[in-house]
Amino acid sequence: MAKKESNFTNMLATLLIVTFASSAALGFIYELTKKPIEDALLYKKTLAVQIVLPEFNNDPFGEAKRVAVGKDTLNIYPGRKDSVLTGVAVETSAPGYGGDIRLLIGFLPDGTIREVAVLEHKETAGLGDKILKSKSDFPLQFEGKNPDNFKLGVRKDGAGEVDAISASTITSRAYCKAVQKAYDALKKGEIENE
């Protein structure tokens, strides 16, 4: 079959048909994948909370609270199972070496730190990024500790009981500071069983 000539009607018609067909297909596929995409996004959003909190079956985001600590306002998300408070996740941050370090910290109802997830950081690869669990044991120091009787500060500064990441005192300090802030917020937030 011969090639279509490039006259106006042909051009217009071709482009119209192509765009029509593909947009129709796209619209259709969009409808199909709409649900899974939303699910994935929701999962992503709640994943951090799921990691740091013990089992829960409420909607922690629905019950989110905003608590002012110093100049900041932190978000705290209570997790409950069958209305019983199982833990509280606190979103916190402090400036590190390369920028803000954002953490989500899961506390048990008694204030013990359960898990910490790093939401975002800009620390140097190989140095400050050891705050990630996959990179070093630094974050493990905090698990199971209750800031009431565990001083959140770098040992080398004489400010607490945390062993700093070597050559990354600043990052370590910021990490402690963020955890401390979260703990303060937790205390202030006064989340109780329902």
Binding site: S22, S23, L26, G98, G99, K122
Partner: protein, 191 residues
Amino acid sequence: MDYILIIISAVFVNNIVMTQFLGICPFIGVSNKVDTSMGMAGAVMFVMVIATMVTYLLQQYILEWLGIPFMQTVVFILVIAALVQLVEIILKKVSPAMYQALGIFLPLITTNCTILGVAILAVQKEYNLMESVVYAFSNAAGFGLALITFAGIREQLDLVNIPKSMKGVPIAFIIAGLLAMAFMGFAGIVK
């Protein structure tokens, strides 16, 4: 102040070629001579600013309004392709001199990811119209800076004997790597 930060960030800190990996094909392909790379940089700047402006408007006033932001890719690329062709046709007639200088690069630009990339990034970063334009402009400037510097180095290397197996593209990548490494020093200047 914000504009200045956008410019510094796009030109030095987050250079589109050296840290964001966009527009590598022309970066490698059209950087043999300083003069041609200047032409290319000019052409990219021209198209990028217009394209970002147009796609910004489309995104804000059509796609968002209709609730179909997922059509971004298709719509943007169609517009960019049409735009480039349009620019080419018009330039050829209106300013043959400029067409001589920039024209040969125009077809290459359609398939240059910087244009689409910057258009999409400007939307992602939720810039307003003016910021988007500045963003596009400074990314194009960053592209130009990288391209011209790079061409300068390659032109100089043309006059010496480099090992045969490294000639051409491999050495270009090594230079790009070392240049990118040097530019890493700017990290953190704009947070």
